[in-house]
Symmetry: C2
Subunit: 454 residues, 2 copies
């Protein structure tokens, strides 16, 4: 009865450095290419939108990158995040497996996103930037950057996909509480927004359009930069505090994971928990299977192609090599907005291509069923994105039961679902449908992939 449930760490054990997996990969990831010239892009190409310190991290091959003291100071507001043993869930499943989860929902914005928003806000502030622009879909990223901006006294302007802006007034209110300005995208503030509105006055927006608007505003003014919440190397880098802490906590619990699980949309929380373990695995110090979970509605890793593609629908971003469904692929409506991206982080794609991780896809209704079981056992209502990792963990635990194996499962619970309760309402009302995957839409989108001579 009195087994330990939570594994906490003192603030002195917040990692002092982020881990850069590029230093340890058996081969380097393919470079991003300039969309015009097809040549590898350099730091100068990124300078109009990112501060130099961030660009250096984006291209760095150093293994460890020091976390600035003011960032660690802010991390203390919620880090180290708890590692929790899901004893009640284990009992409910009657499994011999031990289930641990690293809970990132304790952050002020309710997800792992502030791990990078605070770092990005800090570097921008250091370089004299006054204003940050970004896009947000579900709102996790926008509220995290708004929070970071409030701490470093930076103006934050969030272009929120119009349909979410209206469907998720609470997320919007959270951003405004942190002092950010939240704008429904497409807006009339930008040329790209006006162009869309001229053609489709009733456009409900898309992440691609919102990115274009945010980037356009950042490029226009010298005091303004752009911040991205996933996909890029520096974002994944900042998230590695998740895995580094988890490793210390698993040691405190005197266990080693047999399987490490994260959900993957852009790939940042997955990389955050997985890359430190991947380092150990590459060095022969861990045997853990590493599983990345995605929705069957947007099955980038399980049905996409590993190819050079644009990061946005507007074709403004560099070409990156990644698992992609094609930039023009539009996933059907489903509730995990954070997993609705046509591509996958180039670094996560690279390690998947190298066979170092396992991809897995689940239907959303199965994920919600798992999330409800989790909530009734552990009390925490998972974000729809995180429910994919919960489902995978439960499946692994049931496999252990069937095989009579007492394995140790570790997953990242990347956020809570307090701002996503409409999804649960729809789930209980039977309104969520798992539509069959549209293979012909995928074929069309893949046919439009840019031609790149490699």
């Amino acid at each position: 009865m009195s087994e330990q449930v939570k594994y906490l760490l003192g603030e002195d054990r917040i990692p002092k450095a982020w881990y850069n997996i590029v230093a340890d990969l058996p081969e380097p990831p393919p470079p991003p290419l300039h969309p015009g010239t097809g040549k590898p892009i350099g730091p100068d190409d990124l300078a109009p939108i990112f501060p130099m310190a961030v660009i250096e991290q984006e291209v760095s091959t150093e293994r460890w990158i020091e976390i600035p003291e003011p960032v660690r100071e802010i991390y203390k507001l919620w880090r180290p995040s708890p590692l929790i043993r899901a004893r009640q869930l284990e009992r409910a499943l009657d499994t011999p497996a031990k289930i641990f989860f690293k809970y990132e929902g304790v952050s002020p914005a309710g997800s792992h996103k502030p791990n990078t928003s605070v770092a990005q806000a800090y570097y921008n502030k250091q370089e004299g930037v006054k204003r940050l622009t970004t896009e947000t879909g579900a709102g996790q990223w926008g509220s995290s950057l708004a929070f970071a901006g409030s701490l470093f006294d930076l103006e934050v302007e969030v272009y929120m996909v119009k349909v979410s802006y209206h469907q998720k007034p609470y997320r919007r209110a959270l951003m405004e509480t942190y002092g950010a300005r939240c704008i429904a995208s497409p807006s009339s503030l930008t040329a790209s927004g006006r162009a869309i509105l001229e053609k489709s006055p009733d456009s409900t927006g898309s992440l691609g359009i919102a990115i274009s608007e945010a980037v356009e505003m950042a490029v226009q003014r010298d005091d303004t930069k752009y911040a991205l919440g996933s996909v890029l190397n520096h974002v994944l880098l900042h998230q590695t505090v998740i895995g580094e802490e988890a490793m210390l906590q698993m040691a405190d619990a005197d266990v080693e994971p047999d399987v490490v699980i994260g959900c993957a949309g852009g790939g940042s929380n997955f990389a955050g928990i997985a890359f430190p373990y991947l380092r150990e695995k590459l060095a022969g110090r861990s045997h853990a299977r590493i599983v990345a979970v995605e929705p069957t509605s947007c099955p980038t890793m399980t049905k996409g192609r590993y190819a050079y593609d644009y990061g946005d629908t507007g074709h403004l971003t560099p070409l990156v090599k990644m698992y992609t469904l094609g930039a023009s692929f539009v996933p059907p409506g489903f509730h995990a907005g954070g997993l609705r991206y046509h591509g996958m982080s180039p670094l996560v794609s690279h390690v998947l291509h190298l066979g170092l991780i396992e991809p897995k896809a689940y239907a959303q209704t199965d994920c919600f069923a798992a999330a409800v079981q989790f909530a009734r056992s552990e009390g925490i209502v998972p974000a729809p994105e995180s429910s994919h990792a919960v489902k995978a963990a439960i499946d692994e635990a049931l496999r252990c039961k069937a095989e009579g194996k007492a394995e140790t499962i570790l997953f990242c619970l990347s956020g809570h679902g307090h701002f996503d309760m409409q999804a649960y309402i729809d789930y209980f009302a039977g309104k969520l449908k798992d539509v069959p995957f549209d293979h012909s839409a995928l074929e069309s989108a893949l046919a439009e992939l840019p031609m790149v001579a490699e």
Copy 2:
């Protein structure tokens, strides 16, 4: 720069007993009276609605009451809750004061309420109860009992004030995610609900009506009991884990509070943080001022009368001596639903009457302004109820600044506002008004107080 921010405790330091202040009071609190006979009620009068273990706690004069091991086991899901030093807020206020807060929003339901819901569910389960009924206004209590019910496999039926039921679909969804049944009150399921609906088919409900429905359903069936989320002695008792933990954490931080603050509606989170410190104060081991904060719209402690009154509008409950605005007093609409109670816990009222604590009232717009400043400094968006404690803490810190005193302030942040963002939306939209207090309504309600020969 590297000063400690969070003070955490290992699970082994979750208190092993709840603290019962009745054992240490200079005089005993006046007894509750039977509404029919006017005589002190006994345990038998409460047996139809509460399990015997809870009734024993309600009337106990023992100083320490052991926390059952299964309850401590569940507490581990979120307890010990963190004590956090509000360094960013101190800097923003430029105050010499040290500000600490005990954060109860880390619980699964997002507030301090599960401290008692888990205990109550446990005792009911022990005595063979199958089903619990309760009422909820803002939804904090209903979701906390729903959470506890899911862990002990008890059916939970929540009568939710109809206006909240429709205004707060996310709270309702949370209860349903935990497996509870949530019913808009007044309902046609009960005689009391039907009586109201016959007279006023469009009734938006009230806490008083919802209590009547929940109690009626509990009395009707042998396998069903009723659970209350504040006001009564046993509820306050369960909340003392807050103050007992805070005391250990303040010792770890090597500070003693000069002032201890809690918001007070029914009085339970206030008592939770305050009663352990009051014990120390009565024993001469603490000099802390103890401040209970309420809204100016429902100023029970600052404008009410200390008198015997009913706990509900339907006059079904025992008569208790408390600071009250009169059971028929209807506070104007304001957003801190948890503070909309016409009375105050008899135990809190008693220590206030003895001059052992200080009452303080604030207008809601001032509280929201304080909450926004807090969110922009510390990242956490307070529940509207908790914002009253935030406002009082900021006021004390500013007093310290004016007086040049480096005092130590401790307050209880009883919950987060994730499910209350509509209040913030209304605040930013300028829709919140502080209506002048209606003294004549108070006079009328006080004139209706029952005549009790003391």
